[in-house]
Symmetry: C2
Subunit: 329 residues, 2 copies
């Protein structure tokens, strides 16, 4: 059985029941589940004070389970970045530990890349994705496949058609705000020629644009082979917007950089999310509105073909893709 440890690096887990439910479900998925001893600790808005959360991260790294899955995001990793023993976390990653999560976990994942070129997995959070009343139809299967090594690619529908995009490079990214909060610090991974994926929540489009413009002005967007945009959700529109929207943000960014910006990645603060290997070499192919992101055997992915006609709602975002590059749904 694949060992999986649940830990809480950032925000407090307010109630134990959703964590217990998530653990039970993860056992049902076939994992040998452990819950770190301070996963339910409380200190202000954090899952224990900095020392306790730091100790938890080092403990999980020493234990080196196959899967180290964060329970939830929130805020807290920023406080630990300068104090983490990155060698320990990198060592675990190099010996098979998949550090998994999204949102605040972006700081850990990009730190792993910055400090040791180590891989991790952008994917679900235990309480957020497996601790609620219902389970998403795609997310659990995609997670299990990713954690057992079967997932080699994901396919999705973009919102805008492309006349052929082919890109190869290091896959990296995560939450836009958290990613930008590393700019200028030693925890920023200097990835050139990469495929950068981004998502965010509770941010008005003007704030998303400001963050993307910062990346552009810092030379980051132009240095990538492609930008993949996931979900940007749960913001409140303003009566002053008058036509300003996420669509106009994307259009503006496209006017500034030649790097293709591909929307529709099923990833973010939404129920249906794929798993993505941060730091892995990947290849992207977009033809029309069909996008295909592979990292298993890239030479098989360059020219894929499938006749899926589903819309960009990504309900089948997790491609369950065998190595022939076709989606088996």
């Amino acid at each position: 059985m694949t060992s999986l440890t649940l830990f809480t690096p950032s925000g407090v887990v307010a109630k134990a029941a959703p964590l217990r439910l998530a653990a039970k479900r993860l056992k049902g998925f076939g994992f040998d589940v452990s819950v770190d001893e301070s996963a339910l600790a409380k200190h202000q808005r954090f899952a224990g004070d900095d020392d306790l959360r730091l100790a938890a991260l080092h403990r999980v790294a020493a234990q080196a389970p196959s899967v180290a899955l964060a329970t939830r995001g929130g805020y807290g990793l920023s406080r630990l970045l300068d104090r983490l023993d990155w060698k320990k976390l990198v060592h675990a990653a190099e010996h098979g530990t998949r550090w998994v999560g999204y949102s605040d976990m972006t700081a850990l994942q990009l730190g792993l890349l910055a400090h040791g070129k180590a891989e991790s997995w952008a994917g679900p959070l235990a309480v957020s994705d497996f601790g609620g009343d219902t389970l998403d139809e795609v997310t659990p299967d995609c997670f299990v496949e990713a954690m057992t090594g079967a997932l080699e690619a994901v396919g999705f529908r973009t919102e805008d058609g492309f006349d052929g995009v082919e890109a190869k490079g290091t896959l990296w990214g995560g939450n836009l705000c958290v990613l930008n909060s590393l700019l200028g610090t030693p925890h920023w991974p200097k990835v050139k020629g990469g495929i950068l994926f981004l998502e965010d929540v509770n941010e008005h489009p003007y704030r998303i644009e400001r963050n993307l413009l910062q990346l552009h002005q810092a030379g980051v967007l132009d240095a990538q082979k492609a930008i993949l945009l996931g979900s940007f959700t749960d913001f409140t529109k303003s009566p002053l917007d008058r036509g300003y929207s996420l669509k106009t943000v994307v259009a503006h960014l496209r006017s500034l950089t030649r790097t293709p910006i591909v929307t529709g990645l099923p990833y973010g603060h939404v129920a249906t999310k794929v798993c993505l290997p941060v730091g892995r070499k990947a290849s992207l192919a977009v033809q029309g509105r069909d996008a295909f992101l592979g990292w298993g055997t890239p030479h098989d992915h360059a020219h894929h073909g499938h006749d899926d006609t589903h819309g960009p709602d990504c309900g089948d975002g997790c491609g369950h893709v065998p190595s022939n590059g076709k989606r088996a749904r």
Copy 2:
């Protein structure tokens, strides 16, 4: 008469009446007021599209009034930073134009510092501060004194007592989010040994902390002689905070940097705000809870004394300070 031009570099001015009222009041203060031709332009959430706002900034720079006062903040300067002819703006500043504003204007002011070591003034915005039903008791007088060269210092009460702080360096800063959005870009002013002032609005303390931590991790806080915190207002607390607050944020930052962090600066998205010369050499003296920030004749400011016992509500934030370093209220 001191010439003053009103212009709108960022967000749209929704209604003309508050701008007209602000212009009328500014005339009443003794300024020779002009309103830029596109100050009321509208494009989406902006005061005209990028080309129009860019043209307005270049037009005001060419006109070179004594005071170039922005009507309001919002969002928009980020889009212009890479396209501005900074030489024109710097040239105007070097020939006497005071670029004034706060919030989004931080991007312009720090850009002036980055591109030409030019001075500008963190201060009010015309519509926001002079276009409403009432006028603040301090802000207009402080603005008039700053614009006519009479203001050489401000005094205020800090929330925490200090056992003597003396610091000299370049005064710089502004809105925290906007300031951080310049990190890693060519528009970031690399100020060492400065006095950095910060404010923000609508940001939960964890986001303020994350931004401050970014500055710390980027080496910015340690490189300053002092940090001055203005107002951080209008955020919504979370039931998960459980004691986490602005106070704990400041305490945490103080545990990380030896640079003194002085709170209580009457500046930010609040009615009572002082004017501060961005880019000017300034000297800070704090004794007990009395803080004194001067930039006129620094040798007079080092040892001041006054028996003011007012609280930190900064109702008398604008010190009206003559050169003997005492507040005339």
